[in-house]
């Protein structure tokens, strides 16, 4: 058997013109999260505890699209979701539609450990969060100025975006652009 290993990510689909400073900020956050996980692994923490610990750090920092700094809905609000899975017994927990839970991944962990279910969503998940006493924030806490600006751009381009995708000139000016999902015409998904 090999030793321990860890990987973290902050999203795929990066704007090729992302400013260098933003790239450096992202690398620093990823390095900080790796160091956090490495320290925990060297202290013999279990894999399930380490993935929760690291994702909490990523949710709390506003740089990436999760927790604070989450992408905004068409109404300018935040709806968060998360899931966690423990390999040995394939236990799992998931949550969706969260608007006040500071660390969604920890609520997903509680669904796995403290509920008879594997997935709770929207008002049921928020009720479970209050019962479990997890840290709550008002929805504004999760909204960043930068994402308000990004939402405006997405609305102007009449499209739905992945992380860090900024419209190029043509799509932000051509009003006849069909509704887009992830930069593809919605028709790609319509069959579903």
């Amino acid at each position: 058997m090999g030793g321990w290993a860890i990987a973290v990510h902050g999203g795929a689909g990066v704007d090729p013109n992302l400013p260098l400073q933003r790239q450096e900020d992202a690398k620093m956050l990823l390095t900080r999260c790796l160091d956090l996980g490495i320290h925990a692994l060297r202290s013999n923490c279990s894999a399930i505890d380490v993935v929760e610990l690291v994702v909490r750090e990523l949710e709390t920092d506003p740089l990436f699209n999760s927790g604070r700094g989450s992408a905004l809905t068409e109404e300018g609000t935040v709806e968060m979701e998360a899931s966690i899975m423990d390999g040995p017994k394939r236990r799992c927990g998931a949550v969706s539609g969260l608007t006040t839970v500071k660390n969604p991944i920890s609520l997903a962990r509680l669904v796995m450990d403290k509920s008879p279910h594997s997935y709770l969503a929207f008002s049921g998940a928020e009720k479970f969060a209050r019962e479990q006493g997890v840290e709550l924030e008002c929805n504004d806490y999760f909204v960043t100025e930068e994402n308000v600006g990004m939402l405006e751009l997405a609305r102007e381009a009449n499209s739905i975006w992945l992380d860090y995708r900024v419209p190029n000139e043509k799509c932000s000016t051509s009003v006849e652009t069909p509704l887009q999902m992830n930069g593809l015409p919605i028709s790609v998904y319509a069959p579903e």
């Binding site: 321990w4 860890i6 090729p16 690398k27 935040v78 992945l162």
Partner: protein, 131 residues
């Protein structure tokens, strides 16, 4: 979307994924991140966390697919990730990180870039954005 996958010194794998979803998404939209088997999966063989175009990841049950080709086709982790990224996404764009129970760690993506970092017990450590 953010994620973390870990295999600990006892060979146990785990995976976690968290997200705000898509900018300008409809209220009530659920993506791949909370769906076990799509955005997140872990078993005795590997742990996987995915990110990218949620609808494509869901249709490809991407995270479970990595474990499945390892279990049923006997692929190693790197081959399994390459196979899934190349063969299971149709026109979709996505990326994933994965670890195996024998201490391997892999990242694969077909997008313009992916924010990722990885480290192993023997001292290897890498942080990157572009291919």
């Amino acid at each position: 979307t953010v994620g973390c996958v870990v295999v600990d010194s006892q060979g146990r794998c785990a995976a976690a994924t968290s997200t705000g979803g898509l900018m300008n998404k409809k209220i009530g939209r659920i993506g791949d991140s909370p769906l076990i088997g799509s955005g997140t999966y872990a078993c005795g063989v590997c742990g996987v966390s995915c990110t990218g175009e949620g609808e494509a990841i869901i249709r490809g049950t991407l995270a479970r697919e990595v474990a499945a080709v390892m279990e049923y086709k006997g692929l190693g982790l790197q081959e399994a990730v390459n196979y899934v990224i190349e063969e299971r996404l149709d026109e979709g764009k996505a990326g994933l990180i994965a670890v195996s129970s024998n201490g391997e760690v892999v990242c694969g993506f077909n997008t313009t870039g992916m924010f990722r970092g990885c480290a192993t017990e023997d001292g290897f450590m890498e942080v990157g954005i572009w291919k």
